[in-house]
Symmetry: C3
Subunit: 310 residues, 3 copies
């Protein structure tokens, strides 16, 4: 039983496949309701449209009450710790929290100290497990399998929450991972997960080309390369797309820097699953929410005992 | 069938009257529900209480799920284009978006490129069609007709979204429009829509006196005139109100600058429909939302085909 | 019939007890719905997690539609008065507003000028009646009575909304109030409400120890004392907690400054009711909302008459 979702590393292959199976059911129109009024909040301490909105829609589709939380006008401004903020939300009656926070592994101050499930929507340069799950779901939807698939991950690997989670999970599930992009944005430790290959070679080999977003906000020394230079050297140009294998697909976590990671004309091309990924994100998040809330409902009697003994 | 609402110019006289008729039904207590869970978002890139709240209440009255969107904490900060933001919301499952944006004609990058309806809640100095419709509705509610009515529009005409929309629509419907206010805030091009008349003459002639808000935030050279001077020269003073025709009414899009456009004591006087306009705004917006969502429901099969072929 | 809740001073002992009784029913699982769609908004012009979220959950539990209101992006920025903002919300169809505002007695510009109930969620250094009610509820829940109870209030009494409300209400209900903390943060006028006692003496005497939050944001001359010094002189240290009476409890409105007002290790100790207070806050706010909305429903016909005569 999934009690929290903080890192893809913690998840068994079977747990991952269970989530994907449930997501598929939701994509096909299955409905699930808790059977009672349940409350969640999305605590986003970093800017986000996609992920926050995706969780919000997933929550509403499950009939949950979504309690607004604005980091910018919260008591965090009065110096309250994240632990005390979440503990407060628990006392007020929330049944789960979704958190994005700039601190790596922020969740360590919460797990086992807070009595409600925590879903990690991104921690610093660490994990982003629901993005990973929606990537996996999109691949599974396309190919029906992971075994033997060749997946190329390209770009700002060192700063990417997505690269780490995806590479690990894909290997767990039997896919073969390769990396490309600027060598100075790669790290040796990734070599255990997959080979580093020049971009022009990679595009011809892979079934799935996962482009990562250049996180301008995390780079100081960007001056070294213009956007146009990046595009020519490591981006998916129109020319490179033509050399991709039949049936191969393009993915990107978005927001896209048009003309940098990918030519603007390719964003909605036939191979692109970029907007499909967003659509799938809702179903995957519904599946995750369902799992942790079912756990919550099961543990509820125990929780109440714990609360009243306090 | 109304697919979007971006400008009053695009609307036929009959389309306008149809919206007003539906708004009247909602004012009388009629209810409408989509028959399924539908999602909308209000994207306000400029400050607003009235319009945003009015849409929100209208949406809730129709049983819609309103997905929060904070421009200030969205991926727009990461440089995402408006098109990509709205395209994202479409992928995530939204059924319509309401947008206020500081750029004139921002909607041109969306219409026919996005597959969900766009309702314009104000673009730069351009259009503000739902404000226009609520003004029309308030006039119709009062007089039961437009033909032969004399409507005076006073104030900051050059910078006013409302003035342009209203003047055009009123003429379409048979009313006679006149303008007043500081001559330097008027533009020749408006003379085709109606005469420019001194304020002291105007107040005695009109059935409807529409005062516009001085948009302090859009004027640099305001120093030329104090607020008190404006009030004496172009405002509705207590003295001028006494000279208005029997049965004539006062309108203002609000927020009111008390003591500038209108004497503070007149804001809630018997002639004033200022707060009535706000009440009516909800019914008019319900009517617009109903129309575009009915269009959406009709087109849904086609849309789904389009999405899956991608 | 409670029409507004702005100050605990306005409330009769019986009115207070009625709210507490209703809160108890909600804590025991009683449900209440208005029987029709009703709209509320929470206008928080000052940062808050606890109070805003608590109201939001209370409102959802009563099935109310909560209309988002962001002070930072509202027309208040365009210079609109609080009166005109709330009058606008009334026109748009809201049935009640909850307001926190930095101005003392901000509500005087609203009461009897606005036709919908106002619930005060904190005004400047003035009142914070729902915090007071939840404190009372927590005490009643613990001891079943107020008569003869000794309650100590410690800390930043001069700047505390809570201290004023609580001291008054507790005396009304028969409890005995004492104060402690830095003498320069105390004011003579409070002596009529209760004695000033050294902290080391106080902890041994009281049944309820109410610690107040040091409002760093309201103190300029804080340099005079370090946090550690405050803790040693006026805080609840581990040593002092050991000398508290059997069965006595610790309360704090939160957010807690750990290691200042109270040792971090005591925040969730057996005596602590800090998180219980938050839990109770929801039930008390449900009770308040129910009362004012019942009043609203009763007055509705009258209100409508008033609106249409305008």
């Amino acid at each position: 039983m999934l009690r929290n979702l903080v890192s893809i590393k913690d998840m068994h292959k079977d747990e991952i496949l269970l989530i994907l199976m449930q997501a598929k059911k939701f994509a096909q129109g299955e409905q699930w309701h808790a059977g009672k009024q349940m409350f969640v909040a999305n605590l986003f301490f970093e800017a986000s449209t996609r992920t926050k909105t995706s969780f919000e829609v997933a929550e509403r589709k499950l009939g949950l009450e979504v309690i607004p939380f604005e980091a910018g006008s919260s008591s965090v401004l009065k110096g309250e710790t994240l632990h005390d903020t979440v503990r407060t939300l628990e006392s007020i009656g929330l049944d789960a929290v979704v958190i994005r926070h700039e601190a790596d592994r922020y969740y360590e101050q919460l797990i086992n100290k807070i009595n409600i499930p925590v879903i990690n929507a991104g921690d610093g340069c660490g994990q982003h497990p629901t993005q990973c799950l929606l990537d996996l779901f999109t691949i599974q939807q396309e190919f029906g399998r992971f075994d033997g698939l060749k997946v190329g991950i390209v770009g700002d690997i060192r700063h990417s929450r997505v690269a780490r989670s995806d590479a690990e999970a894909l290997r767990k599930l039997g896919a073969e991972v390769r990396f490309s992009g600027p060598p100075e944005w790669f790290e040796e430790e990734y070599l255990s997960a997959g080979e580093f290959v020049p971009m022009d070679k990679l595009v011809e080999e892979v079934d799935v080309l996962m482009l990562l977003r250049i996180q301008h906000e995390r780079h100081d020394s960007e001056a070294e390369m213009t956007k146009e230079q990046y595009h020519q050297m490591y981006g998916l140009t129109e020319e490179r797309e033509k050399r991709m294998k039949t049936g191969s697909i393009i993915m990107h976590p978005a927001p896209v820097n048009r003309g940098v990671e990918i030519a603007s004309s390719l964003v909605e091309c036939e191979r692109s699953r970029i907007f499909k990924q967003m659509e799938n994100g809702v179903f995957v998040r519904m599946a995750v929410l369902k799992q942790v809330l079912e756990g919550r409902l099961t543990n509820e009697l125990a929780n109440q005992k714990w609360q009243y003994s306090c």
